[in-house]
């Protein structure tokens, strides 16, 4: 039952792949810090070649910033993205050259995990989810990402070249037994990561408000939580000015319903909570939002 992936996703991933291939070439020869001079040209390329991303950035920044976005702020937004993509390479390589990670709210995550039903780590395309890998390794926790494999496109080879275990850490969406795999993984006490801010179709999603406009969020993560009973923990990893990634775990705080009627209300409540969490992150770290497509649609 694979539904067709939304075309607009291809745009950020293409830029992602370009940046990765260029950077990958040099990553083996040069260190992370010495590669940062590349970010300027990459940003400029992205800015000039990707009108859709530029317009999406402007539309987003208009919502997230207290002032009108300018070319400078849009460039800054794109540079942040390029920086995180570059860092991603080093997170995957898992060498001493990895960016450092600072963690807050670790207890709430470990506590959720101690319940024995695994844990659903719910993130967004804000900052870097890759930063969590190093944390997982540190705690001996198996982290699997639930994602569209097709969405990676040609980047899969690049990712696997960087981390040979990469394929095993992915649970591909789109198979009839995808969620059986997820439930089994959670049953083994593992952690399953989901980025819940993009939806491929409009009939299985929830409409809610975010940054003053309507957005559509997938209901999947919340239905999955209800079906498995695994606790949801919100997680973000934002690159701070000093180059360290601030990983922050936050309890989801919306309890699973016990009644039948509660089930349908839960999705809406959960989506509102999630959107509120994203909105607060966007206000605090406006340049770490990495959905470079028309996110706020004119909904009827």
């Amino acid at each position: 039952m694979p539904r067709t992936a939304d075309r607009r996703w291809v745009v950020p991933e293409r830029g992602n792949r370009f940046a990765m291939q260029v950077a990958l070439l040099l990553a083996r020869k040069v260190g992370r810090r010495r590669l940062e001079w590349l970010l300027g040209p990459i940003t400029l390329y992205f800015f000039l070649h990707n009108g859709a991303a530029r317009r999406a950035s402007r539309a987003y920044l208009r919502r997230a910033l207290p002032v009108r976005p300018t070319i400078t702020t849009i460039m800054r937004h794109m540079r942040c993205f390029a920086q995180v993509v570059l860092d991603r390479i080093f997170f995957l390589q898992n060498t001493t050259d990895m960016p450092h990670v600072r963690v807050t709210g670790r207890e709430c995550f470990l506590q959720a995990l101690a319940g024995g039903r695994g844990c659903l780590l719910l993130g967004a395309h804000i900052g870097s989810f890759e930063a969590l890998r190093s944390l997982g390794r540190e705690h001996g926790i198996t982290l699997r990402m639930l994602m569209y494999r097709s969405n990676l496109g040609g980047a899969t080879d690049v990712l696997e070249a960087l981390d040979p275990t990469y394929a095993q850490t992915i649970i591909a969406i789109g198979q009839v037994d995808t969620m059986l795999r997820v439930a089994e993984s959670l049953g083994r006490g593992e952690v399953v990561g989901i980025l819940g801010d993009r939806t491929p179709d409009t009939d299985r999603c929830i409409r809610t408000k975010m940054l003053g406009g309507d957005v559509l969020l997938p209901e999947g993560p919340f239905r999955l939580g209800m079906a498995t009973g695994a606790p949801i923990v919100l997680v973000s990893a934002i690159r701070a000015a000093d180059g360290v990634y601030d990983v922050n775990f936050v309890p989801f705080g919306v309890a699973y319903p016990t009644s039948r009627q509660g089930r349908s209300a839960f999705g809406q409540q959960a989506a509102e909570r999630y959107a509120g969490w994203m909105e607060a992150l966007c206000r605090r770290h406006p340049f770490s939002w990495f959905n470079f497509y028309d996110y706020w649609k004119d909904l009827p």
Partner: protein
């Protein structure tokens, strides 16, 4: 995905066991159709009933709970098992009697 016409059983009439499973299916998944409306050989996922992978998990949960039959992700036949009410029921019955 269309199935070849089954000559021994009706393609449109549910067997008693299929009806029982259909009722549990409608209840567990909170579907907006009645159990009778689920054609035994119509696809459950995608075009047919429009179920998704989380629904498949819900099906696996009630099948495990009510019939003691485990549906596992490593089964290479999952696509076939979940293809229709009929194939799901055939799998459940085969594994229940074997077990």
């Amino acid at each position: 995905m269309r199935h070849a016409v089954n000559t021994t059983r009706s393609t449109t009439i549910q067997t008693p066991f299929e009806h029982e499973v259909a009722e549990r299916l409608v209840a567990a998944l909170q579907l907006e159709v009645t159990a009778e409306e689920i054609a035994p050989e119509a696809p459950l996922f995608g075009e047919g009933l429009g179920l998704d992978s989380i629904d498949a998990l819900e099906i696996a949960l009630f099948v495990g709970r009510d019939y003691g039959v485990a549906l596992r992700s490593e089964d290479p036949d999952n696509k076939k098992i979940f293809s229709s009410l009929r194939s799901l029921c055939a799998f459940v019955q085969a594994n229940r009697t074997a077990g």
